[in-house]
Each structure stands twice: as C-alpha cells, then as structure tokens.
Amino acid sequence: MISAFLAIPLIAGSFVWVTKNKLVIHCTNLAGALLLLIFSILSLADIKKYEAVTGKGLFKDLFYIDSLSGYILFITALAFFLVSLFSISYFSEELRRNVITLNKLKLYYSLSNAFVLAMLLALITKNMGVMWIAIEATTLASAFLVGFYNNKRAIEAAWKYLIICSVGIAFSMLGIILLYYSSTITQVGSKISGLNWNFMLQNASSLDPSILKIAFIFILIGFGTKVGFSPMHTWLPDAHSQAPSPVSALLSGVLLNTAMYGIIRTLSIVNSNLGNSKYTGNLLILLGLLSIATAAIFILVQQDYKRILAYSSIEHMGIIAIGLGICTPISVFAALYHVFNHAMTKSMLFLATGNVYLKYHTKKISGIRGLINTMPVTGLVFILGVFAITGMPPFGIFMSEFNTVAGAVQSKAYIAAVLLLVFLAVIFAGFIKQTGKMFYGNNTNPEIKKGELDFIGPAVLIILLFIIVSFGIYIPKPFKLLMDACTDIILGGM
C-alpha cells in the first residue's frame, strides 16, 4: 500500500519520456494521479479500520500514516488529480501557440510528479529527518517549475524561491537536531526511533522542555518559511505569480499544507510535553496575525491578479496558524477544515487565472475587462471564487473562518478575534475593489474573441466549485469523523 504512493509518481514521471504522443503523455499523468487518489481513499478506509497504516519489513521504522497524514494525503491527491486534468487543457493550448515545446511538456509532467512524490514522502514518513529531506526536495523539484517560462521575472522568482526556502528550512534542521538530541539523551532505545515523531509524542513527558521550546522556534521559523508566514513570506508572491497556473495551484493548495503538517507534528509533541498550549499558541497566533496583517496591506495595492491570490494564501495560512494556536477542539477542527477549504478554493482560483491568462495574455488587472462577458464559465467561477476566498457564505471558507473566530472568543482570546475580524474585513474590501473591475464592462481589445478555450478547463472549475459549495453547506459524515480523529491526534497528549 505505502510503496504505491512512492511508485506511482515515479513510474508516471519517468514514463512520459518514453513516448512522443501528446495524448499518451497527458493520459499517463492523469492515470497516475487518479491511481494516487484511489490509493489515498483506500488508505483512509484502512486507517478507519486499524487506526494507522504502517510500513512493512524494511520500511517498518520509516512509514506510518495516521488520520492526520491520511487527511492531508487525500487533499494532496485530490488537488493533484484535478490539476492534472486541468493541465491537459492548459498545456495543449500552450503547445498549440508554440509557447512551449513537447520536451518542455514532458519536463513539466516529470517535475510535477517528482514534486508530488516529495510531498507524499513528507506525509507518509514518521521520521522527522526524512520529512525534512522530503520538504527540501519539494523546493528542488518545484524550482524549475517556478522558472518554467525562463523569462527574466520567472528566473528571478525561482532564484528567490530556491534561496529563501533552502536557507529557511536549514533552520528547521537545527530544530530537528535539537529534538533528536533531547530524545537520545533520555531514551535507551535504538538510534532510528529517536527521530520518529510518534516515538517522541509517546515519550513526550520524558523529553526536556527547555530544549523542546527552542527546537519549536527553529522548526516554526524553518517550516514557517515554506508555509509563507510573514516576515519570511517574500518568496511566495513571486513564485506563485510567475509559475504556470497549474503549478501555482499545486504550490498554494498543497505545498503550503505539507509544510504546515511538519509544524503540526512538532506542535503536538511540544504541547504534550509542556501540558498546555500557551507557549506554542502565543507564537502561532502572533505569526498568524502578522501574516494576515501583511497580506491585508499588500492586497490593497496589487496590480497583478495572481499576486493578489498569492497574498491571500499567506492570509489563509495565518488563519490556520491562529486556529492551531488557540488549540481548543473547535478551533483545531476549524483549522483542519480550513486546510481543505483553502486547498480547494485556492486551486480553483489559480486554475481560473490560468484560463484568464491564456485568453488575455496579461497578468495585470488593468488589462482585463468584461471577463464574464468574454468567458462566461471562467468569469462566473472566478467571481464566486473571490467571494468564497474572502469568506462569504455559503462557501466552506466562511464556515471554517467563523469557527476559528468562535474558538478564539470561546477561549477568551478577544484581541486576536477582533484583530482577525478587522483584517478579514480589510482583505474583503481590498479583494473586491481590486478584482471587481475585471468582471464587468466591455472588452475593448478586438483580438480577444468570446468564448472558453475548450471544455476540460471549465469542467474542472465547475467540479471544484461544486466541492466548495457542498462542503460549505454540509460536511459528509465520514469526512467529519476523519477530521475529528485528526483533532484528537493534535490535541492528544494534553
């Protein structure tokens, strides 16, 4: 079971180099993504039965999937599948216009598979060292994807991404070394198990609190760079806006969650050692509020619609951090729910920008008028997506944001709750003011013809829209049970 998660992207990623047929290349990748999705659902079923899926034989000490990793795994696989489907439409158009060559397409598919492989590895391993290696590998695999178009801006964005993330993550290695140190000086067990998060979680009370505290700071800064917390966020708007839209969707919808997962694991170890969430909570709430404030200010002045969405990712990671920081059952549940909602909504918006970009060939807001008129489906999905991402009902994000605020009020974190609401209002106003112009009016450019490019792209958008609306109104029972199990894991030791 577990080896399937590693084998499928590996095979799909290398197989694309064998053939020259465009259709076969697209289908290979899509089939791989579909298989991953099926396996992730199967593993969720197994987790429900046996609580966790463990590796066999040689991998016994290495792999372990519990509800939390299974949950994020599912989100990753779902987003990757939808993005793969969308990629067919996006890159067919790019090929048709000769923006990219066939080899570039193959490069895209093998790199995106490598990217997903690295993220899956980070999720299924229980060894913090391997997790670190995998998260660093995500940077390496996606650096070329960010610089995909090879122009000045793309290369600058890729260089920033590579340097800032590699350096930032080096700090979390120091944190992991400290964690390992604190678990080796207290335990007599084998060398390997000392790095496992579930070993550390079970023996959390015998670890040294002062080492754990400093290790948490290092890991928060390190993985936080990858999550996009302000003030380490500077790579994020550049990378997300310069990458091709399917890659932006993966970066924003999936990668940020994977890095957040690293923080969550450390968080539960430290919390269960200290017995309360005050220490980690204050740090997370502070970083979260800072990120939301930064995003609110920068959204007001953007002129590029992809950059606005990128800043909004920073904002939503901040909201998740606040949910985790408050650390009551309701707020942690809201944070997990938000992870899903944000992944789906933001993927939808970034994919929609892909359609818009292919049509208008500009990322400037001022270059786009009459979107709803020109592209009815994309335009409509985009405007609904803007309302969803800013937290309007009936979409999922409204529910999770509402619960986060409710959790904050319930645990008497009034200042955080008020600030959060104020920033959310500013972000809402900024979003509507900036993007509102794009949708109405008439298109003055005669070269842009009416109509969608093809049917696959809008179809993916409709699927995503359906998901976010239905999850805003009703959470299916198995899904709710899964999130409850994840909440228990995070709050477990306290």
């Binding site: 290696i133 660093e136 610089g147 260089w159 590579l162 290695m173 120091l174 790095l195 400093i214 953007q302």
Partner: protein
C-alpha cells in the same frame, strides 16, 4: 585528547567562517570553503574512528567522511571555480557592508548564539553546549555571508557554509543521525547546489550578469 581535538577542529571551522567573511574575491572564498570542508571531513573522520575503536565494529560515519572529501573538498570547489571563471564580470565591490563592520556584526552573532544556547537549561553537557554554539554560529555566519554578497556565487557559497554548520551540529551533538537520514541530507543538499549552479547560468544568460542586485523586477 579526543574531545580536545574535536573542540579544536570545531573552533577552526568557526574561525574559517570568519575568514570567509573577510574574503573579497570569489576565488578566495571558494578556497576558504574548501578549507572549511576539509576541517569538517577531519571531524567526521575522528568521530567515526573513535566509535570504531570503542565499539569494535564498522561505523557508517566514515561514509560521510568519504562523501565530504569527494564532493565538498574536491568536486564542488572545482565546479564553482570553473563557473565563476565562465561568468566573470567586473563587479568593483562584491559586498554591501564593508568588511570591518561585517566582522563586528559576526562577533555579535556569535555572542547571540552563545546567549541562546546558554539559556537552554536542558543541555547540561558542557562539550555539547560548546559544539552547539560553534555550529550554530557557523550557520549564522553563512546566512550573514549570503545576505551581504552581491553575486549569485557568493550566495551558493553561503548556503554551503550553512550546510557545513548543520552537519557539524548533527555530528557532534548526537554523534551522527541515522545513516539514511545523513545520506538523504547530503544528496538533497548536493542537488540543491547543482540546481543553484544551473540557475547561476540562467541568471547570467538572461540578466547578462550574476549581480543579484539586478534581480529587481518583482516587488511588493
């Protein structure tokens, strides 16, 4: 005897990072990096030989020793020097902050690391405490080197120095992480340097220079 030797080497690694900060030319700091990696290799050799002598069985850290010598002492410096020759342009001043001031800042960073490590009550072994101070200072100095240089190659060297600091910390505080983690770490970072090298060429092609000060298109 053993701990004295390790201590000496660790201090020398820290001093070599100070030398790095004081270097003005690209070739000079690549050589300093090579010297530092050699010291790191010696540390790993000492750690593995000692554990082999006391446990009477094969210790895997010796593989790390071979890898460090092969890649960090031989291959990476040669490749970096070749790269820097290919993309050579006259940048009159390679640094943003002049050298005496950067030296003072670096001393401040070391004091900061010392203060942070001493505030952790859980580390009661004084040797470990010192090793952590040295290795964390090397990481900090590498970071400072990165932000104070204008050329892309300088940033790669800074990254490599940060890496050296991480390896030093892993090796000395915990006597080596599990083998597959160390190997994964090593190859991860090697790939990172390789990709950065490719990007140096790309930057050179598109911007006609490797002065990262020119990367100013994306703001706000």
């Amino acid at each position: 005897m053993y701990s004295n030797a390790i201590n000496l080497l660790a201090i020398l690694i820290l001093i070599s990072s100070f030398i790095l900060i004081a270097n003005k030319r690209q070739n000079a700091y690549i050589s300093t990096f090579r010297f530092q990696s050699l010291l790191l290799a010696l540390v790993s050799l000492l750690v593995s030989v000692r554990s082999m002598l006391s446990n009477k069985k094969f210790d895997e850290v010796i593989i790390i020793f071979c890898l460090i010598v092969l890649f960090k002492v031989v291959i990476i410096p040669i490749v970096l020097k070749r790269t820097s020759k290919k993309v050579e342009y006259t940048v009159e001043k390679d640094f943003f902050i002049n050298i005496p001031v950067s030296m003072l800042i670096c001393c401040g960073l070391v004091v900061l690391c010392w203060h942070v490590i001493y505030s952790i009550e859980g580390i009661n072994n004084s040797d470990t405490r010192n090793y952590l101070i040295y290795s964390m200072s090397v990481v900090m100095l590498g970071l400072f080197f990165m932000i104070s240089r204008k050329k892309a190659i300088g940033q790669i060297v800074g990254f490599l120095v940060i890496e050296n600091g991480m390896f030093l910390a892993a090796m000395l505080t915990t006597e080596g992480m599990p083998m597959f983690v160390e190997l994964g770490l090593f190859f991860d970072l090697l790939t990172a340097v390789l990709i950065m090298g490719i990007f140096v060429f790309k930057i050179n092609d598109t911007f006609d220079s490797i002065d990262i000060n020119k990367l100013k298109n994306l703001k706000g």
